[in-house]
């Protein structure tokens, strides 16, 4: 996609598009490649190899590897594979819309020059006023012939009378005449649409909106043209409060990397939710066989939202992974939503009430999957906890909730899995989706660390000076409720 670096001076002249050999597929927006024509087809194209001497022969055309559209479909071919933009220019320049636009520009050019001179004498002071918008607004506020004069305006237009002298514009063709000339629009489009049988015969709105302005009368896919790639700018972003650079992309046009990339997600615990009652089937032969013998149903490998039955209770797991080099203590709570009076909530969620620890991230864990080591580590974490002085009641609660549905289920390296439970109401309907507030606290050893200073919502909670607490909301989507009678039998 990202193709070339374009000097800012030529951006406007090229109408914000890349002027080199970069084109997008008008059907699917994949990047088009220039390909030579096929050599003459051998007797059996699949068996005899093609002679290398016949490869790379003209005519060349633009080809989409994704949807297999090619420009020869619409009669655009090239003698050589270079300078395509120039070769295509003639199609673009002769388009009636382009000609009309050029004519308009010409018409207003003199006017813009005059108002430029005026504007330079009287700086407007507004950022939004450049010579073109000034000219446009001046024309718009001009008196319309045949319409009663707007008195409030009169004195002003008198003063700048010479500035407003723009001769009336005459278009190349009368509006609506395009259809007669076979350029789309007008009557032709009406009759085309009236006899339409399949919606795919018409360009989608998306296709039309990304087309150049000069394609605005095109409705039929056979009229699609390769699109010049719109230019993008690369922007750095700073923190609004401290001006620290948060992201800074690499300068090179082809690169998608960042020189600086401080994103919040690197500092927030990663959260994944699973429902043990709906474990996804692994694609093993055994499973395959089972699903095959059970039902010949295209839905058998459906991986859509989990279907939960009304009136039932489901346990779920939330795995939190700590990205920080420090131990964090996390507390989860469900946001209570206001219910309309007389309506019972569709479901109720229970989460462990007590805070729980997640061990620090350590690089070694990434490569180690020896279970024993994890067990040792968990012991260490318990010790660590005591050392760090988690309050005794908190520890007690943690011990109690062990081996239950709700509570801390598993601690493995820097991931802690906690269990929750959702009770679906008898008349529950809709999505099982709730907002969860995640608060986490950690003590950073190095006080000077500026890592998290730009964090999202910082709630200063003065446990100790070096303790930092952050909290954020996240949405947990467990699945959808199906009423008892409609529930699929495949659960």
């Amino acid at each position: 996609m990202r193709c070339h670096k374009v000097p800012s001076a030529s951006v406007r002249a090229e109408k914000n598009r890349c002027a080199r050999n970069c084109f997008l597929c008008p059907l699917c927006r994949n990047t088009l490649s220039v390909v030579p024509s096929d050599p003459p087809e051998p007797e059996d194209p699949r068996l005899s190899p093609i002679a290398t001497s016949t490869i790379g022969e003209p005519p060349f055309f633009l080809y989409c590897n994704f949807c297999r559209w090619d420009s020869a479909d619409v009669g655009i071919v090239f003698d050589k594979p270079t300078g395509l933009a120039v070769q295509l220019q003639k199609y673009e320049d002769s388009a009636p819309d382009t000609l009309e636009f050029e004519r308009l520009k010409e018409h207003f050019e003199q006017f813009i020059r005059v108002s430029n001179a005026v504007a330079s004498n009287h700086p407007t002071g507004s950022n939004h006023m450049n010579s073109i918008t000034a000219a446009a607004s001046s024309v718009l506020s001009r008196d319309i012939p045949g319409v009663a004069k707007y008195s409030g305006r009169k004195s002003k237009s008198d003063k700048h009378n010479n500035r407003d002298e723009v001769p009336p514009y005459r278009s190349r063709f009368e509006a609506g005449a395009n259809g007669i000339l076979g350029q789309g629009g007008g009557e032709n489009d009406v009759s085309f649409l009236a006899t339409l049988e399949d919606i795919s015969e018409v360009q989608t709105l998306e296709q039309r909106s990304i087309s150049k302005f000069s394609d605005n009368s095109v409705t039929v896919p056979s009229d699609l043209r390769p699109l010049r790639i719109p230019l993008h700018s690369k922007k750095s972003k700073r923190c609004p409060s401290c001006r620290h650079i948060l992201i800074k992309p690499e300068q090179k046009a082809q690169s998608v990397k960042y020189k600086i990339k401080l994103v919040a997600v690197n500092y927030l615990p990663a959260i994944t939710v699973t429902l043990p009652s709906f474990a996804p089937p692994a694609p093993t032969l055994d499973k395959l066989k089972r699903s095959l013998t059970a039902k010949q149903n295209p839905e058998d490998e459906k991986t859509g939202p989990f279907q939960m039955q009304a009136g039932k209770t489901y346990p779920f797991h939330i795995a939190l992974t700590n990205p920080l080099y420090d131990l964090i203590t996390v507390k989860l709570s469900v946001q209570r939503t206001a219910q309309p009076t007389g309506k019972r909530p569709a479901f109720a969620v229970s989460l462990p009430a007590a805070a729980f620890p997640i061990a620090a991230y350590a690089e070694a864990w990434e490569y180690e999957d020896d279970d024993e080591m994890f067990d040792n580590e968990t012991d260490d974490i318990d010790e660590l906890l005591e050392m760090r002085g988690l309050s005794p009641p908190e520890r007690e609660v943690r011990a109690k909730t062990r081996n239950k549905t709700v509570g801390v289920l598993e601690k493995k390296a820097n991931t802690t899995v906690i269990g929750g439970e959702v009770v679906i109401g008898k008349d529950g309907r809709g999505d099982v989706k709730f907002n969860m507030l995640v608060s986490y606290t950690y003590r950073s050893d190095d006080i000077g660390s500026s890592e998290v200073e730009g964090g999202a919502s910082k709630t200063p909670k003065a446990l100790a000076l070096e303790t930092k607490t952050f909290s954020f909301y996240t949405v947990v989507d467990l699945g959808v409720i199906v009423p008892k009678d409609e529930s699929g039998s495949n659960i």
Binding site: V35, D38, P45, F61, K289
Partner: protein, 176 residues
């Protein structure tokens, strides 16, 4: 359902890695390459022609009793799942695409990455059918470029036949 009886007929010029899941009556033609971790499950027999490429974690299934015939020069990309009762020649099934048993392919069809083809009624795609995009739209390819593409595919298979045996143990058929 009676237990599936295994019978593997693998051509001596085929390259089938040891680490594949084969089940049922399967015939693999000359020059065809089956990568490790691919799955071929034949409740009814499956016959694969010449110079096909079956990539990692691709799954080919024949649910019916009749023979599932797959022609020559077909490419089954990583993680695709194909249950079409019949497939012609020179088709491309892209990564993670899924074809249900209600669709048959003729030749030079392209099913794009992640596309799901599951018509409710049985359907046969004519030559050069292309399925693409998030909503699995259909269109017909002009066929321009097919000679070069097939040339490339042949070289692709040739390279794999040379390289895969260097890093993988191969499976031989019952006939060998």
């Amino acid at each position: 359902m009676p237990p599936i009886k295994d019978k593997f007929t693998i051509h001596s010029k085929a390259v089938v890695c040891q680490d594949v899941d084969l089940k049922g009556d399967i015939t693999i033609g000359a020059g065809t390459v089956v990568h490790p971790k691919a799955t071929i499950l034949a409740i009814g027999p499956i016959v694969i022609g010449q110079n096909c490429i079956v990539e990692e974690s691709a799954i080919i299934v024949n649910r019916r009793k009749e023979i599932m015939r797959i022609g020559d020069d077909n490419l089954f990309e990583i993680g695709c799942r194909v249950e079409s009762p019949s497939i012609g020649n020179a088709n491309t099934i892209s990564t993670r695409a899924r074809l249900h048993h209600t669709v048959r392919l003729t030749s030079y069809c392209v099913v794009g990455p992640g596309c799901l083809v599951a018509p409710i009624q049985d359907e046969t795609f004519e030559d050069f059918t292309v399925v693409y995009g998030a909503s699995s739209e259909y269109r017909l390819w002009s066929g321009r470029g097919k000679v070069q593409e097939m040339d490339l595919r042949r070289k692709h298979a040739e390279y794999l036949r040379e390289m895969l045996p260097k890093f993988n143990r191969l499976r031989r058929g019952d006939n060998a």
